[in-house]
């Protein structure tokens, strides 16, 4: 069961290195930084287990599958915490004297949510800004195309039509 412990150690090491890198280079994209860290960690895991069990053996495949599942789970966790409204509601409730999420000051809050997201989309390069107009960049066009294709695959449009709502605000 050495392969299991090695996978666990590599996963924890990867999270620790990411935490350090985020403090040293906080301007870099957190997901890309973690992705690169996870790849390096995966290579280390492959080297350690492959040498002991054989490169294509079951333990190596199992260790790598578990390790990358753990990495994806952690990426999901921190992106969820950064962007999810549910996570924000829960963390907001931890603050002493937290206001209701349905308070009278909601409207400016929602406007702020749109503006923050637009700034972030410009920062990651999916949107560009010319004068007062936002436009799709080349990567943004790919993302928009993939969005419509996946909505069709998952039958989201069908669900919206069934509910009689038409497409969600898009």
């Amino acid at each position: 069961m050495n392969w299991l412990l090695t996978a666990l150690a590599c996963g924890l090491g990867c999270i620790a290195v990411h935490a350090i890198l985020r403090r040293v280079q906080s301007q870099r994209n957190a997901v890309v930084t973690f992705g690169l860290t996870a790849l390096v960690g995966g290579a280390v895991l492959l080297a350690l287990t492959g040498r002991e069990y054989g490169w294509t053996s079951g333990p190596v495949q199992g260790a790598l599958a578990l390790y990358f599942f753990g990495c994806e789970l952690y990426t999901f966790m921190f992106t969820f915490v950064i962007g999810s409204i549910s996570a924000w509601i829960l963390m907001n409730a931890l603050r002493p004297g937290a206001a209701s999420v349905r308070s009278e000051s909601d409207a400016p809050q929602h406007v702020g949510m749109v503006e923050t997201r637009l700034a972030r989309l410009c920062q990651v390069g999916f949107l560009g800004k010319r004068g007062d107009r936002y436009f799709l960049s080349a990567p943004g066009k790919i993302v928009a195309g993939a969005y419509h294709l996946l909505r069709w695959c998952f039958a989201h449009d069908l669900a919206a039509a069934t509910a009689g709502r038409g497409q969600r605000p898009a």
């Binding site: 999270i15 990411h18 935490a19 403090r23 973690f34 294509t56 053996s57 079951g58 333990p59 495949q61 199992g62 599958a65 578990l66 599942f69 994806e72 966790m77 921190f78 915490v81 950064i82 962007g83 409204i85 549910s86 924000w88 509601i89 829960l90 907001n92 409730a93 931890l94 937290a98 209701s100 999420v101 349905r102 308070s103 909601d106 809050q109 929602h110 406007v111 702020g112 949510m113 749109v114 997201r117 637009l118 989309l121 949107l127 107009r133 936002y134 436009f135 799709l136 066009k141 993302v143 928009a144 996946l150 998952f154 039958a155 989201h156 669900a159 069934t162 969600r168 605000p169 898009a170």
Partner: protein, 169 residues
């Protein structure tokens, strides 16, 4: 290699079933339905792999790790993409900008602020249903249940660890 082929084959069949059945069964177009479709499959394959190893001694223990790892990666990716394309705020903005021929202005995009309002109201009631928030009257400060407090503290620890900044105000 046999273990890998069996697992990948099963996941491919599951994926094809998800896409085909979603067009016929309304329940698979809901968040709860698609989540259960993946969760039940995950539990059953994990139990199946455990039986194959423990009772019948057909595979080594690493097969269980392979099944959990690959099914986990597949289901998490599928559900993330499903959820993102169903109601992501940022992707809705990207699609809205793409829908305007000459680009979109901020006032045009602010129409989507109502999406945030709707999402916040529905999310709050979902959290109450999940037993993470105590139901309170509108305007009152939200209160966490015991499990809600555990979740909120875990999220705060992850935020601290990853040195992230929240997108929501």
């Amino acid at each position: 290699m046999g273990d890998l082929i069996i697992t990948m084959g099963y996941l491919l069949v599951h994926f094809a079933m998800c896409l085909v059945l979603a067009r016929s069964f309304t329940v698979l177009r809901t968040e709860r339905g698609i989540f259960l479709f993946h969760a039940v499959s995950f539990v059953l394959t994990t139990l199946g792999a455990t039986c194959a190893i423990w009772i019948f001694a057909v595979f080594p223990w690493s097969f269980l790790a392979l099944v959990i790892g690959l099914h986990g990666i597949y289901s998490l990716s599928f559900l993330e993409l499903w959820s993102l394309t169903q109601g992501s705020y940022s992707l809705s903005l990207v699609a809205r900008v793409g829908a305007e021929e000459d680009g979109a202005t901020l006032p045009q995009l602010l129409v989507l602020s109502s999406l945030g309002e709707t999402k916040q109201a529905t999310r709050e009631s979902h959290l109450v249903k999940l037993g993470l928030l105590v139901p309170v009257a509108p305007g009152e400060a939200p209160q966490l249940t015991f499990f809600g407090a555990i979740c909120a503290r875990t999220f705060r620890a992850v935020l601290l660890l990853s040195n992230g900044r929240m997108l929501n105000p």
